[in-house]
Symmetry: C2
Subunit: 537 residues, 2 copies
């Protein structure tokens, strides 16, 4: 994939990304909303910044003094603006709440440690003073993962890791890099590309999300077919806890007992704060090739991807849109007249040495053709590649014009894929329809495995009077549908608060007890991101 | 790889495998021992069966009654013969002890449950009566993983899972199979091949080791480059504990918190008893192709394998012997005169559809040639393939003729591989040399990853007066060398009792506390395989 540009993140408090990148909805899409979804033509802008209600900081003086001792007074912030920028993540409900002027849950302080040791000191101070700590990387959670929860502890600080922004070590022979947790995607990638390497991790949140966040949430990038999920790339972690530091990795693979890396990956700041991650990196690709394909329908396309995964002949990116998403892609993008009029669009990318790209492309193309695909050439895939981080900006534009837009995702085995697709599609359609806001529901497969795949749903519909409640109703129906068919409640968005109540379906009561025992061991005072990951006992 | 034949295991109490497969050492190898290693020509046979000391069963009547209630009286055995066959595993010290007539550690009973529910009942009964339980699959542990340890609890039963021997479900669309834990490698493979699939998991212990054992020890097979390690193949487990059942897997991949599968994989019967494993399976290969290569030296060969792993263009098997192992292979095998006189032998295998084998072979061969390799054609690789499960029988033959033979293994990053090789090689050579028994030390790489590889050492030398102490001294030196260079104490043999004291180097004191908290949660009475995996607090 194209090496993305480095940018300095200056996130907006009420939208994705930065102000300079905000983009009003093109008129032809606005017309489509009215025509296809019956969205009443009405502007629903955010309240201005000066009308936002932000709670006052309640950080006790003794806690403040301890934290200042750890990081220095200049790295402890209690001003409203800094706290507003750390008030929750970027889910649609998060944005809707802040756009309406509600930032009452704002943390009591923002702390910016500069070293692993300072993180550990802050955690000990917070444990001593019973102050909750939310590890905060890019703040891009879409599951409530960085939202203050005061049900157990009344005072909350956001531990912003932005100062941990260095590439600590690059082992070019082993192909490993040790990156600090606060590095955002583009900065990490720039540091590696300068030295001839790539991480190959490009989730949609890439421009703002952080290395620590990728680890803490089990992120998966658009190029997961070629580079793997983030949790697959991790050789070692450095995790600070109130009880000291854990370094769970020692080799590319080991049989020395349970794999503790996999206990801290996905622990979402509830078992400790990831400060460094040692990851597998690859030589920056000498060549990149795109090819789009058309399949007669979603099932045929999915069966074709299954063939690739099963054979072990994977491109770097493999992505398949359902009929609705394909139609909308074609209506909204630059693809233009050369695209097919129906069916399902698949995008493939190949990266590596020229020889590898050539060999792998030949093998994959033959398999896709045999499975019923028709090559559309490079252009529709190039177009997807250019716009691949754009969807969150589009969501902001939709929220401005009376439209609710949100996404959710799952994964399951191949034999359960169609059933899961229908169950979730049906649940979303019904739950929103019965609120009088029949939705557009579209879906793609973007992560494939030998035994199954992810399903990523995007929903848009007219906004109801209480859009947060409107979405919560639909989300509950979709989550229940997902667990009732035996799929996982999340393939790569993590648990946070939004998926917490389905964790008993995921791992059972005894599994929850095991996770609680781990938390109790590393965080006996319960200060690490309370209310996330684990439902209350 | 050739689909191995199904065999009914009737293991020997004092040797690997069955009596019919024992094989005396060929005269030219015996001569080589004397000439090259100075092994005095002396027979050192095992004592006969009737001279073996076996402790009396001390199973209390109340515990016996409870266990019989769970499984039926006919599945509880306290006879000497059955207990002898469950007295420890198959490490060289295990065999040396039993060959000398010492089976004093024998379990007090052998229990054979027929269902998951019966396993759970037995665990509850044992917890109630404070009886230790050792999950026993193939009994092939080489790290003391199934040896009774009475330091915490005086009464021990072996829970033999042989009756759990069914393929419960095959999902041909997803490519998953649910196998019961007691299935031995060849039976599991036969059940899958009959339906057109393969697990592709062929560790050296394949002929006797079990599905549950593969999971509980993080086994890795000879075809790991193509099929992955066993822990990579697992979608779900069913684990019985004294506190109930855990099912930690729900999808091919998930972000729903920590991956609990990876906490029970490698838990060696200390966190529960694995009764079922849902694994990824592959279509049985239509074609298999072998090719051997010669490299001028071990470092050049390792760099060539590194290229394959980094490119992601892996054969199904990739294996490289060092100069000594290459020399001995050539001296001992059927390769004959066509083989090169020096350098290092590498073996590659390709499996899959004809197209995949052709494409992958072409890509790999070009990379290996560019990296300094010379093709030797198929025959040396065919020869390796035919003899690939034979080494443990060879060890028995060596033990019969005054020779100590044992193996150990590790893994590390590519940049640390040479340092690790030299450290372990040096430690073994010195520790045995200073006991007056200078060894032959040979090594191969048999598992490769983008970021590193395994190293597998085989040692042979003249046997000292106390061969168990002789090896323990060398093993201690090798383990200390491994951890001092930052490699893992075991890549695929697991921890058991033999690697337990190095676990603090692997995961640190806080990591051990986490593992102890997990054990305390699922096994509050501490009856599950006590003394293994975790060092005493």
């Amino acid at each position: 994939m194209t090496a993305p540009q480095h940018r300095t993140p200056e996130p907006m408090w009420n939208a994705w990304g930065t102000a300079s990148e905000a983009d009003p909805l093109p008129e032809h899409l606005r017309a489509l909303l009215t025509d296809a979804l019956g969205v009443p033509r009405r502007d629903t802008p955010s309240v201005p910044r000066d009308q936002v209600r932000i709670r006052e900081s309640a950080l006790p003086d003794v806690a403040r003094a301890s934290i200042q001792d750890a990081v220095g007074a200049e790295h402890l912030h209690t001003d409203e603006h800094t706290r507003l920028l750390h008030t929750g993540g970027k889910s649609t409900p998060d944005l809707l709440r802040r756009r309406s002027g509600d930032a009452d849950e704002a943390p009591d302080a923002v702390v910016r440690p500069g070293t692993h040791e300072e993180v550990e000191l802050v955690l000990r101070a917070c444990a001593r003073h019973r102050v909750a700590v939310i590890a905060f990387g890019g703040g891009t959670s879409v599951v409530g993962g960085v939202s203050p929860d005061r049900s157990a502890l009344p005072v909350v600080v956001a531990l912003d890791l932005a100062r941990l922004d260095r590439l600590l070590e690059l082992d070019t022979e082993s192909g490993t890099a040790t990156l600090q947790a606060g590095l955002r995607g583009p900065e990490a990638e720039r540091l590696l590309r300068e030295r001839g390497f790539t991480l190959g991790h490009f989730p949609q949140s890439f421009e703002y999300a952080s290395i620590g966040g990728f680890a803490a949430t089990r992120s998966s990038g658009q190029a997961s077919a070629g580079y793997g999920r983030f949790d697959d790339m991790v050789l070692d972690l450095r995790v600070a806890t109130p009880r000291g530091t854990i370094r769970p990795g020692r080799a590319p693979a080991s049989a020395a007992g349970p794999d503790l890396r996999q206990l801290f990956l996905g622990s979402e700041g509830a078992f400790g704060v990831v400060t460094e991650v040692t990851v597998r990196v690859r030589p920056a690709p000498a060549e990149t090739r795109h090819e789009a394909w058309s399949f007669p329908d979603f099932a045929t396309g999915a069966a074709a991807l299954r063939q690739l995964a099963r054979t072990g002949s994977l491109p770097t990116v493999a992505r398949l849109s359902d009929e609705t998403e394909t139609g909308l892609n074609l209506a909204s993008s630059e693809v233009g007249g050369s695209a097919p009029s129906g069916g399902c669009l698949a995008v493939t990318t190949y990266e590596g040495t020229a020889e590898h790209v050539g060999a792998r492309h030949a093998e994959v193309a033959e398999l896709l053709r045999a499975a019923g695909g028709t090559s559309l050439g490079a252009e529709p895939a190039d177009s997807w590649d250019r716009g691949r981080f754009h969807a969150p900006y589009l969501r902001d534009a939709l929220l401005d014009v009376n439209t609710l837009a949100e996404t959710l995702e799952t994964a399951t085995t191949w034999s359960n894929l169609d059933r899961t697709y229908r169950a979730v599609h049906g649940a979303l359609t019904e739950a929103l329809g019965e609120q009088g806001t029949p939705p557009l529901v579209m879906c793609h497969v973007s992560h494939i495995y030998p035994t199954g795949a992810s399903l990523y749903f995007t929903v848009a519909c007219a906004r109801a009077a209480d859009p947060v409640a409107q979405w919560q109703h639909a989300k509950r129906a979709a989550g229940d549908a997902i667990t009732s068919v035996g799929a996982t409640i999340t393939h790569h968005h993590a648990v946070g608060s939004d998926h917490r109540d389905w964790m008993v379906e995921e791992v059972g009561e005894l599994g929850l007890d095991v996770l609680r025992a781990v938390k109790e061991t590393v965080d006996p005072e319960g200060v690490l991101n309370p209310g996330k990951l684990l439902p209350p006992k």
